[in-house]
């Protein structure tokens, strides 16, 4: 019993020592949209990241999970948190567009989004409420293809799950961001979505007000607009903020 307690005490001490070391330059916990999975660690490998559907991250922040920064694939969710007094004023930092990923080499000879109506196709998309799921519904509505929503064989919780279902061949087509498709270039083929149907995809970030490192968190949000960060975003396929 005593040995157990001693071990526990040592473990706690070690854990705190580790923490103390990190507080020199506070290691921030960044909750970020799944589509930022590859690019954020390139911008700053130092922080601790939790990637997921922006709506799940919103729910986690609402339930008090300790995040310092929130970066969402839309502006609505961070604004919703801002109005509740949970995060600072959201800052739009980049933009994106949607594409349809299909099996590499297009073995099913699909020619454009309307051909997804072909019976028997297994289409996946993100669920409503997930930013990319909402954008997908907008695209389909603009193209008069809203019935595809009910044809989907799975409603995923974030964009990377949609992507992996197509990469693994479990689905024939999936609606993702152009930047997600770029991370698996050579493993999938693309169907373009016409400009007229593209929704305005804006990414917004904010510092979480309950953060113990609020100043550092605010600075981190700001650095997303820096030349260096913007260059990395552009290299990953993200777009300039439309004026």
């Amino acid at each position: 019993m005593r040995a157990l307690a001693a071990t526990f005490a040592v473990a706690v001490a070690v854990a705190f020592a580790g923490n103390a070391q990190a507080t020199k330059a506070p290691r921030l916990t960044v909750f970020a949209a799944a589509s930022l999975t590859n690019v954020f660690p390139q911008i700053d490998p130092h922080e601790r990241y939790s990637f997921g559907g922006s709506n799940m991250l919103t729910a986690q922040i609402e339930q008090g999970l300790p995040a310092d920064v929130f970066a969402s694939a839309n502006t609505g969710l961070p604004w919703q948190l801002h109005r509740k007094g949970l995060v600072t004023r959201p800052v739009v930092f980049t933009s994106n567009r949607l594409v349809v990923v299909i099996a590499h080499g297009n073995p099913l000879h699909l020619a454009g989004v309307p051909t997804l109506e072909k019976p028997g196709l297994r289409i996946v998309m993100a669920a409503a409420g997930v930013p990319v799921g909402d954008y997908t519904r907008k695209v389909l509505a603009r193209m008069g293809l809203s019935d595809l929503v009910d044809k989907a064989v799975s409603q995923e919780t974030d964009v990377r799950e949609v992507l992996s279902k197509v990469v693994l061949g479990e689905a024939d087509a999936g609606f993702v961001y152009a930047t997600d498709a770029k991370t698996v270039a050579g493993k999938v083929s693309l169907l373009g979505i016409p400009e007229s149907a593209q929704p305005q995809v804006l990414y917004a970030a904010a510092a979480v007000k309950s953060s113990r490192h609020l100043q550092a968190a605010k600075a981190w949000v700001k650095q997303l607009l820096s030349k260096r960060a913007q260059k990395k975003l552009r290299a990953a396929g993200f777009l300039r903020i439309p004026r």
């Binding site: 729910a59 064989v153 799975s154 409603q155 919780t157 479990e170 689905a171």
Partner: protein
Amino acid sequence: MFAAAAVALGFLLLPIVAIFARVSPGSLVSQLSRPVVTDALVISLKTSAIAQALVLLLGTPAAYLLATRRFRGRSVLVVLVELPLVLPPAVAGIGLIATFGRFGLLGGTLNSLGIEIGLTQTAVVLAVAYVSSPLYVRQAIAAFEAVDPNLVAASRTLGAGRVRTFFRVVLPLARRGLAAGEALSFARGLGEFGATIMFAGSLEGVTQTLPVAIYQQFNTDFTTALAMSALLVIVSGALLVALRLTLQWQPSRPTSRFLFAPSR
């Protein structure tokens, strides 16, 4: 000592108490009548029922053979049967995709037969059966091993065939262990999440089981997620009580008289 025990018990019980503390009985009832919840409950019960039927049908003979036959590599096989039990569900999900997925080991064969499993209800059944069957098979092996071989031998000498002996002697004697194993397997299958969401995806009314629905509702509507969690706590609790009762239940005396009655 008492403090440690109190902390341990509090740690185990508080999350369950917290679920019920945050959901009032009124909202529980109104939330539980939402289609997303009823759909998920139906899918969970349906896929669990099919999966458990498969587990019983295929697992029982497998367990009986492993319990009664001695052959080379038997102990290795017994350990391998238990392996899925300790595998993380995410690994099970990857394994199922690597086997039954379109590009999986059996994917080509299945595809040429026109069978697609990934992202269908069949995928849910396979995921549930995969993660839950070892619990049953393992318990069933132990139950069959505990059956006195002299009774089996006696039954055979008295003229009962193998099949008759199995159904009239072995099964009744092993039934408590089998029921306990099945209850555990059912409970584990009902909670299956990781392999399901990877291999079967999530579609309301088709592949969205209760745990998957809880995860998805957590993203949009915490109250509904709480209500569904409360529902699963109740169902799982009921299963646990059933399991306890099965383990305590003594086969009544008259049954044994019937067991040893000369067969005609």
